[in-house]
């Protein structure tokens, strides 16, 4: 049981209202006809699996039903920030050392 901040509802909501939808910021090749099979395969099937800061796409499935982004630390599962579609993350792997911000609150033990 933990809470995630929805940037559209502008409040913390119960985790079971959300679904993860994989890696964020995957740009579709601008010209698919001119894209090599390797590059197209990478776009369709290959995803990063970093140890540390990771940007993910989530959807507030039961609430406002909007997609948004979460920056998460894959070592601790801590949510570092949530931000709207079209925005860029402020916490990145190259940026300041990842520390949990007030964007995620743990209200109970994390299994």
């Amino acid at each position: 049981m933990f809470h995630i901040y929805c940037p559209y509802c502008a409040e913390y909501r119960e985790e079971e209202e959300f679904h993860p939808r994989g890696q964020a910021h995957i740009a579709r090749p601008a010209d698919p006809e001119a894209t090599s099979d390797d590059a197209w395969g990478d776009y369709l099937f290959f995803r990063d699996n970093p140890r540390g800061v990771h940007h993910e796409l989530w959807v507030h499935a039961v609430g406002c039903r909007k997609f948004f982004n979460i920056t998460r630390d894959t070592r601790s599962y801590a949510i570092l920030e949530t931000y709207r579609m079209g925005e860029r993350p402020t916490v990145t792997a190259n940026g300041p050392e990842a520390v949990p911000s007030a964007t995620a609150t743990l209200t109970g033990a994390l299994a």
């Binding site: 559209y8 509802c9 502008a10 409040e11 909501r13 119960e14 079971e16 209202e17 039961v62 609430g63 406002c64 039903r65 909007k66």
Partner: protein, 224 residues
């Protein structure tokens, strides 16, 4: 006006209409009544979508309501209620039979703007929960924090309700509304009757907010 085919879902001499809860007989509370549950059937539910800047003027002119642009806000007047569902989506609930006229007027006021209005009245119904223990029944039923300090009058959210989902709105100090899917209405009602048993829940007969030309049919049994 944009080229959209419109039809009145409730024409005169309409076929008989059944509420999704027509089959569940009303039942008084055992002992003192602490919670009252009533279905407000046959209201017209419309989903209005578009950018707030596009919709606000027409909504104010036609409905006399200020478009709630803040998350989780619910605006009400004698015409009906208008609830924020997402940054570009609102739920408009008006008296049964009024939806078609208001939809036409909104479409005329919005002209060629980019927007959408869909009548979803056939797919959902409204349950009203009132009484001094209504909030306790909700606390047992949803993960959302319905504590009155966190959930003031005029707030509405979409959240998990039992093992389904519902729109939960607080309309006054002790009165709450649940908008539930038609196919989940029976489940939600039985859940509420079970959850409310310890507080003395009274299930009142369905209140049809229905225009005079519409026939309603009931075929009730008693929940055991």
């Amino acid at each position: 006006m944009s080229k959209v085919v419109q039809f009145d879902p409730h024409p005169a001499q309409a076929a008989a209409t059944q509420s999704p809860l027509h089959h569940v007989a009303a039942k008084p509370a055992v002992g003192e009544t602490g919670v009252t549950l009533t279905e407000r059937a046959f209201l017209d539910h419309l989903i209005v979508r578009g950018e707030p800047g596009v919709l606000a003027g027409a909504v104010e002119a036609v409905l006399g309501l200020e478009l709630p642009t803040q998350p989780q806000r619910l605006a009400r007047n004698e015409t009906g209620s208008l609830q924020w569902l997402s940054p570009d989506e609102w739920l408009l609930i008006v008296a049964g039979g009024e939806g078609f006229r208001l939809q036409r007027e909104l479409r005329e006021a919005l002209g060629e703007a980019h927007f959408s209005i869909v009548d979803v009245g056939g797919g959902q119904t409204l349950l009203e929960l009132s009484g001094k223990h209504a909030v306790e029944v909700l606390m047992k039923s949803t993960v959302y924090d319905v504590d009155p300090r966190h959930f003031p009058v005029g707030k509405g959210v979409t959240s998990v309700f039992a093992k389904a989902t519902a729109v939960i709105r607080r309309v006054d100090e002790s009165r709450w509304e649940l908008v539930v899917r038609r196919s989940f209405a029976d489940y939600c009602l039985r859940w509420l009757l079970d959850a409310g048993e310890e507080y003395g829940i009274a299930h009142q007969p369905t209140q049809p907010a229905v225009a005079s030309h519409r026939q309603t049919v009931t075929d009730t049994e008693t929940v055991s």
